[in-house]
């Protein structure tokens, strides 16, 4: 069974120079997938990168599976069980698709190269292509696969469906659903509301570096006022 508190973020603060990008972030993630929504430039990516240890936090702590990983290096965090799909994909330009997968291949992982190829047949077709010679969508699939192969306890995904064709978004959504079956936690940053609502059970709203509200997906779906307030949209 998944622990109740897979990832616990406690009063996390991040600065860029003198600007206070993340302010007292508190988040608890258990077995229910959570999504963060928010307008551009609110600090979502900064949060992901701080969780991964790539951006230095000024204060606050992060626990993964009861372990305090606040002082861990990015590599230790990855080893402890965080899978990271960064915004902008960050594919290695001089590795081929298959080399990307070989790089992170592990013996006792639940995810094998074959399994990945069966989820994303397009990657199998392009297996010998260099990273920078893939289409945007192909890169996105590869970035997700790369993180999965590490067999993480929790996935942090920063806009994983950006640039994907609708059919492939379907595949990704399916995949995200199946994460739960594999008992993998999920923190999802999304701009595609329908994906977020379909995958996550809880929605966090981020505004100017703060988590300003937390609602269930059901609530947000039905509450147009809330949508208007936080997301500035109307569902037709």
């Amino acid at each position: 069974m998944m622990p109740d508190q897979l990832l616990k973020i406690d009063k996390l603060n991040v600065y860029h120079g003198s600007s206070h990008t993340l302010q007292d972030i508190d988040i608890n993630i258990s077995n229910r997938p959570k999504a963060i929504l928010g307008r551009n430039g609110m600090g979502k990516t900064t949060l992901c990168s701080a969780l991964m240890g790539l951006t230095k936090a000024a204060s606050g702590s992060v626990f993964l599976d009861q372990t305090d990983i606040s002082s861990y290096s990015p590599e230790s965090r990855a080893k402890t069980g965080i899978g990271y799909v960064p915004q902008g994909r960050r594919i290695f330009r001089s590795l081929t698709v298959i080399e990307h997968l070989k790089l992170v291949e592990k013996k006792d992982s639940r995810w094998s190269i074959e399994k990945i190829f069966s989820i994303f047949p397009r990657l199998a077709e392009r297996r010998k292509n260099m990273g920078d010679r893939l289409s945007g969508g192909e890169q996105q699939m590869l970035a997700i696969s790369r993180a999965l192969m590490l067999d993480p306890k929790i996935m942090i995904m920063d806009e994983p469906t950006e640039g994907l064709a609708p059919t492939i978004v379907d595949d990704v959504v399916e995949l995200l659903h199946s994460l739960a079956e594999h008992e993998i936690g999920l923190l999802l940053v999304e701009q595609n509301i329908s994906v977020a609502l379909e995958v996550a059970s809880d929605i966090l709203i981020m505004l100017n570096g703060r988590i300003v509200d937390q609602v269930t997906a059901e609530e947000l779906k039905s509450n147009t006022q809330m949508q208007q307030k936080y997301l500035g949209i109307n569902f037709a």
């Binding site: 860029h16 120079g17 003198s18 600007s19 430039g41 505004l207 100017n208 208007q228 307030k229």
Partner: protein
Amino acid sequence: MSRTLLLIVVILIILPAFISDFWLNQILTRSIILGIAALSLTFLTTYLGVVSFAQITLAGVAGYTIAYFSPNTTGLGIELPWLFAVALALLFSTLAGAFVGAIAKKSVGIYSIMITLAISMAFFYFTRQNYSIFNGWTGFSGITAPVAFGVSLEDSLVFYYATLLSATAAGYLVVKFTSSPLGLAVQGVKDAARRVRAIGIPTTPVIIAAYAFSGFIAGMSGVLNVWQQERISSFSVGLGPTIDLLIIAVIGGMRHPLGAFIGAITYVLIDTFVIDLFSRDRFNMIIGLVLLFIVMAAPQGILGSFLSAQKRIRKYDNNAIKRKIKNDCEI
């Protein structure tokens, strides 16, 4: 910054009254001349994103031009009025800069280091092997600074002020250039050359213009250098001075024109006095250690460390911006 700058200039103007001829000549004037050359490098590095090892070559082109067209004791060359010689020297160094740019236009980063290094080495070996124009290994000697508009530039004080004036002009030109649209385009090429083309600006002329401009600045230093040294030879354009220039640029800091000069004076002081202060047989080890220390301790160079702290506060003062975002977002 501008107030500090003014202060520095004032100090530099009155300084000769307080220091010996040696300090004036061998430390201050020499530093400023090296600083101008380093400025041509920091300009290219900061704004075009290339590390050029050819700046000493470009300075050398100007230097050799002066030597060839001035009275010298080598018995080679044609005598011209000094103004012509200077004009030719700057013209040639600018053209040489454009030529280097045309060759290196596709190279960035490490590759630019290499291609410019290759160019400078080719020039170095050519001057060393050729006797008909460059007088080979030995080069030209006995060149003296001219009498310009009634005052002799051989006078160390006059020469110092001429050098200071040139340096100020060079700094001014660089600042103006970089804030012009062409200068912005140069910076654009550094970040994303493809995008520069995609906003309708051809990149090749921009790159060539940047190199040519750096050639002009390097040429200024080349002219002054021959007048000060009263000589030039293949050694003046060899690997040693080339690496020295890089050292100067990096230890001084690349972000601001002043960095080049701070680097130069630091370098000249170390170069001149370390042998006195420490064991004379191991002075190179001391120079290496000092260099290592500066490079490691001051990431942005001596000036850069100071400046970047200032700049960060100014550029990223996001408080005001954030307030605005808040207004935009609040419904």
